[in-house]
Subunit: 401 residues, 2 copies
């Protein structure tokens, strides 16, 4: 294969931190990135060839982006699958991953059903009323999780149900609809299973190749990813099961790219509360899939031979995939620890810069908001637990207050 | 210390591959780069905030760059020290490294004299005529190297003298002046010493800190760097001597930044052919210094905790320095293997992309020219010799023809 100057242009719908890190990965490859984002001067702007300011649902802008790109991709689920497909049709520019995959993952019920064909999942049901929730509770047992089928993010739209009396309130909270006005396709429930830990695997579909990175343990609080450590601190057989589940579930997806596959490590769950392929005796259940690079894969920038961002560019371009092997690495998110939105100024940066094993990643957001992802720090080393501890200490040394 | 959005802006005089790699390193730090280059759309353009198209000697443009930057630096010796100093004076924006250092390193005689105060060098003399060359030959012995004091690059301007009869021709070839018209300050000679190998050390001067990376062995052909391997394949005491020499020679320099320090590893050289501090018994002689990131330090991008490009940004900003420890890494330059200038299209890229231990760096130059640096490939691993061999194989799998 050949590389010229200028190299291929990748059009990215979304110019947030993922678009920025795609841009950072593009330079060495000779790839140029143009990012579309509704925010003027978004995080990606200082590091990419160009940005286009337009809404994600601006059909003309998406088509114009496709026209100037060699391949179109997206870094945010707010991208519109229909517009991507239409822009691709009009321009002849391929879109990866396939917009159909995006359509599937934007609907948690469709996503879960698609995953269940290839991998174990918590038992689930579509629900259109509180009565449906209670019926599911009788069948699957409690607790359940009510999920809005669309628009959830960082755990928003997920509400637990401990018993039949919670059904109405949980549905209303998860979907934002009064029970009597609930659309038929707004919600689902699934068995809320106790888990040992959450595991994430970055998978990648290339041109005839599939691969998976070492398994990452993710640590959430208030349903937001706080930290990660790779390899995950569970037994090798559980890690191996997670990688196999991830490689299987890649079959449920169409098109090329990196996918963030979030799973639960469970032990001894009642078989009635599980579903999907290989559910019997499963210790790893798929929770959800992001059809794009993912927060749980940020460790790959320093920790793996090829970062998830370079990998995504290679995959969407149909280039050979890069190496996924890695060394121990942990990340801690630098979240807005503020009560109100305020200009983004973080103190304590010298703690991170002064630690030789640490790497700062600043996302270039102008405003710090409560729990907003403003950056992350990665610590590489030999021992996962030590890197995780150090990453947490460095995060704790910083503040936006 | 604090970091905000937008982060500090580093104005870089020069937008070639070094400016590009500074831009690639700036994103994660929240640093923005603006590069000044006479070429429209230079290599740095797709990865930096902005570029300014202007000659290096355009005083107004350099001053305007200083006005919009928090610190000014340069990635090419064609930057004009006087203009940098004046722009700094006018704008109040600091320049690093100090323009005085650039002035010194732009004149090989001044540079050698400055280095000799702190480190061993080949014996040298200023020469203003062929008679001066012959006088030096009588004193120091032959062979000598005649060097143009200014404007040399990649070995251009260096011509060996085997005996007194070569003096006129060598002076003319090195300086481009007929012997009878030779300016008094155009040339110098130094003892041409046989060396075991060439060693380079990337040194860095920060805010009150000094550091040096592990020692790199550089492999030149036709006076152009072809490949490098780190750690250098010599004994640990010689490597240690090279690092000490590099740390000493940093004393000869003013201001902050990364410096490429090129040295010769010699054995058993006649003491009369050596000069400078610690010349007696020296096995490492300083050859020259680049006041900027350097080709011989490209391995640090993947091979060291903190790359030379991130390190340079940290240093010029006065931030804490990053870690210099590394693992085995080799680089091979992807040079224009063409007879005439032609559009840059390299085939064989899949060989590099398909090797998990390899990293491609494409410089984004539109035209391939004979022996022009178009990119490089880095291979990381455990054994220096193996990484060097593999890097060479991957380079040989590519061509611009």
């Amino acid at each position: 294969m050949e590389l010229s100057t200028p190299g291929p242009t990748v059009g990215v719908v979304g110019g947030g931190q993922l678009g920025r890190m795609l841009g950072e990965a593009a330079g060495p490859l000779g790839v140029e990135v143009v990012a579309l984002d509704p925010t003027p001067d978004p995080p990606a702007a200082p590091v990419v060839r160009d940005t286009v300011t337009a809404s994600f649902d601006d059909a003309d802008a998406v088509e114009a982006l496709a026209e100037r790109a060699d391949v179109l991709t997206y870094e945010i689920e707010l991208a519109e699958p229909e517009l991507l497909a239409a822009a691709s049709e009009e321009s002849g520019t391929p879109v990866h991953p396939d917009p159909e995959t995006l359509r599937t993952t934007r609907d948690k019920l469709q996503e879960t059903a698609a995953m269940a064909e290839f991998a174990p999942v918590p038992a689930y049901r579509a629900v259109a009323s509180a009565a449906d929730v209670r019926a599911a509770g009788e069948e699957l047992g409690y607790p359940l999780m009510v999920k809005a089928r669309r628009g959830g993010y960082d755990g928003r739209g997920n509400v637990p149900v401990e018993g039949p009396g919670d059904a109405e309130a949980a549905l209303a909270e998860a979907t934002g609809h009064a029970p009597e006005q609930l659309p038929e396709d707004a919600a689902m429930v699934e068995a809320l299973v106790p888990f040992e830990r959450e595991l994430a695997v970055m998978g990648v579909r290339g041109d005839g190749e599939r691969a998976a990175y070492p398994v990452t343990e993710t640590i959430h609080r208030e349903q937001i990813l706080r930290a990660s450590v790779t390899p995950a601190r569970c037994s090798e057989p559980v890690r191996e099961e997670a990688r196999e589940v991830a490689l299987s579930v890649l079959e449920a997806l169409e098109g090329r790219g990196v996918f963030g596959i979030e799973t639960f490590h469970v032990e001894g769950v009642d078989p009635d509360r599980l579903a999907g392929a290989g559910a019997e005796g499963a210790r790893v259940l798929v929770n959800e899939i992001a059809p794009r690079p993912h927060n749980s894969g940020h460790w790959t920038i320093e920790g793996a031979a090829c970062s998830q961002f370079e990998q995504h560019l290679r995959a969407v371009l149909g280039w050979p995939l890069g190496g996924t092997d890695g060394r121990a690495a942990a990340t801690a998110n630098l979240l807005g620890d503020v009560d109100e939105p305020q200009p983004a100024t973080m103190s304590g940066v010298d703690a991170i810069l002064g630690e030789p094993s640490a790497h700062l990643h600043w996302y270039g957001k102008r405003e710090a908001r409560p729990l907003r992802k403003m950056g992350h720090v990665t610590v590489v080393g030999d021992d996962p637990g030590t890197t995780l501890e150090r990453a947490g200490e460095l995060r704790d040394a910083t503040t936006f207050r």
